[in-house]
């Protein structure tokens, strides 16, 4: 494919997809090892009404209102879960399940009823993302990457996602040792003076920021695959955390690139007409990667792993 076609139409969505996948995969490793893999699921469900309300109040999709709305929704969710747990005297898992799904449904209803025709925000977008539309029309080829005039019209989502990725990397790098030890042995970490509660909260907030930033690209459902699949695949390739992080980044990049290409050209190769959802295909490829790692990974049968199949 020539640069004239690739750079404006495919380069930016592909990069955004890659950045989103890596930004989610990095905290995903720790969530997985802490048996908190579904936190990503919870976050992505809960923040939807927050994002929608933020849009309704400001009339635009931009970073800060979205982040604030998402944070507000997360706080509301925590309060609701605690209230239901205490007043209803039901177990926390049930309270969470009720709050997540209800808030997500509320977000979908709000979105459906409000007039969002002026921007790319509708139910479909919220569910599957809108990666294909994040194109760079001012680019004319590879040369545009050095052209300040064209660069000014780069889709805002690209620098935003890149910045998020840098933030996620900084958090993981800075607190690497503390994260590692408090994930393995929380009691021991506390005797060293590590504030494990704060660190755990920091990890969840990092994951939430990644999820909200990835919202544009892949929507709020498919982002779950980005949290879990690369990390779970990587765990089956190695028995060292450092290498696991590396593998998870590799799986994330592979899924994003391959998923995007397959979504765009796969149907054509098969003789079809239209492209399929890029986010959907990225998640499918992630799942395929996990299946391959589960079948062939060198570290798939471990002492602690459940026996059978």
């Amino acid at each position: 494919m020539s640069g004239e076609e690739f750079v404006p139409l495919s380069l930016t969505p592909m990069l955004i997809g890659v950045f989103a996948a890596v930004a989610c995969a990095l905290p995903g490793n720790f969530l997985l090892l802490r048996r908190q893999a579904l936190i990503g699921d919870a976050i992505s469900h809960v923040v939807l009404p927050g994002i929608v309300v933020a849009f309704l109040l400001t009339g635009m999709i931009s970073a800060w209102p979205m982040m604030l709305g998402a944070a507000g929704a997360a706080v509301v969710a925590v309060v609701l879960i605690e209230a239901i747990r205490r007043l209803g005297r039901i177990e926390p898992g049930a309270a969470m399940g009720v709050v997540f799904t209800t808030m997500f449904a509320l977000g979908v209803l709000l979105l459906e009823q409000s007039d969002t025709s002026a921007v790319h925000l509708d139910v479909e977008h919220a569910l599957y993302g809108n990666l294909e539309s994040l194109i760079w029309l001012d680019a004319t080829g590879w040369g545009s990457l050095l052209d300040p005039q064209a660069l000014r019209y780069l889709p805002i989502e690209l620098p935003r996602m890149a910045l998020t990725l840098v933030g996620v990397c900084l958090f993981i790098a800075l607190f690497w040792r503390a994260l590692k030890i408090s994930t393995f042995d929380e009691g021991f970490a506390r005797t060293m003076g590590i504030r494990t509660n704060l660190l755990g909260l920091g990890l969840v907030i990092t994951a939430a920021v990644a999820a909200v930033a990835a919202f544009d690209a892949v929507g709020s459902i498919i982002v779950i695959a980005m949290f879990i699949c690369p990390a779970a695949s990587a765990r089956m390739m190695t028995n060292r955390l450092e290498a696991q992080i590396g593998w998870s980044v590799g799986f994330a990049v592979l899924a994003a690139v391959l998923g995007y290409v397959l979504a765009g050209y796969g149907p054509l190769w098969l003789g079809g007409q239209d492209a399929v959802s890029a986010a959907g295909m990225i998640a499918t490829v992630s799942g395929g990667g996990l299946a391959v790692a589960a079948k062939c990974g060198p570290c798939r049968s471990r002492a602690g792993a459940p026996a059978g199949v």
Partner: protein, 272 residues
């Protein structure tokens, strides 16, 4: 000081108070009025404990008596409702570098993707700080600690591949790497093989010989007299504390364990 004054009740109390303060200042681990609760019922209630320096102390009591909780609260792992903890006479926060801790083996996920040597290096994290590089001499120290527990050959194994006894020895090696003055171990002999038990006790005795203080949550009454200098009996409240010969008595065992130990068993143990 006249004889009358020394015998006056007020004077006695002051002397006793000063004596107490001096003991707390010297003790590697002193606990006063410690109460911890997980729900409505306290797990540890108003406990005082004064660990003797340079000796080996066993914390014993029946299941659910608050042995581990006492240790965890003393280390700041669980937050107490009330009470004061001092380490060598200073607050815990200032003395973390002087403490080494061996948690219960079952409290961690041994499927965690890491190798034996990496676990021992965790004992050096305080020294390394957030971002300090792990250098050759750190690795050499970690390997030395592994060889002290007879595990040097396993350095590059994944921790999930070890037996229970081997895992326990790796935990002990990590505590050794911390280079502390006070060693706190939570049930180090639970579910380990005889060889490991011997290896652990010999390492603990070498620590004592080097002037370190060792406190062990212990469950095997039969080995208390053989392994330890002092004993601390707990059943939510403190039952007895002191040298094994005095505190490890039939009466205090009867109080601590209630009907859970047959009278003959206690009799045998107290005589052993």
């Amino acid at each position: 000081m006249s004889l009358d004054a020394a015998n006056s009740p007020v004077e006695n109390r002051v002397v006793a108070g000063l004596d107490q303060d001096a003991k707390i200042a010297q003790s590697p681990l002193a606990v006063r009025g410690l109460t911890v609760s997980y729900g409505e019922k306290p797990a540890v209630f108003s406990v005082d404990m004064t660990v003797e320096p340079g000796q080996m102390t066993a914390i014993i009591g029946p299941n659910g008596a608050g042995k581990s909780t006492l240790l965890k609260a003393a280390l700041g792992i669980v937050a107490p409702i009330s009470g004061r903890v001092t380490i060598f006479g200073r607050p815990l926060a200032e003395q973390r570098a002087r403490i080494a801790y061996v948690p219960q083996r079952a409290s961690v996920d041994w499927d965690f993707p890491t190798r034996v040597i990496d676990v021992v290096l965790m004992g050096l994290y305080r020294e390394l700080g957030l971002l300090g590089w792990i250098k050759g001499n750190h690795r050499a120290r970690a390997l030395d600690c592994l060889s002290r527990v007879g595990m040097a050959d396993f350095a590059t194994r994944q921790i999930g591949q070890l037996s229970g006894g081997q895992q326990q020895r790796v935990f002990l090696a990590r505590a050794l790497a911390q280079g502390a003055d006070l060693y706190l171990l939570d049930e180090p002999f639970a579910g380990v093989d005889a060889a490991t038990e011997k290896a652990i006790i010999s390492v603990l005795k070498s620590l004592r010989a080097a002037g370190k203080t060792v406190v062990v949550v212990h469950h095997d009454l039969a080995t208390v007299a053989e392994y330890f200098d002092n004993v601390f009996l707990i059943n939510t409240r403190r039952v007895a504390e002191g040298p094994v010969a005095e505190a490890f008595s039939e009466e205090s065992l009867q109080v601590a364990y209630g009907g859970r130990l047959a009278a003959t068993q206690i009799d045998q143990l107290a005589r052993a």
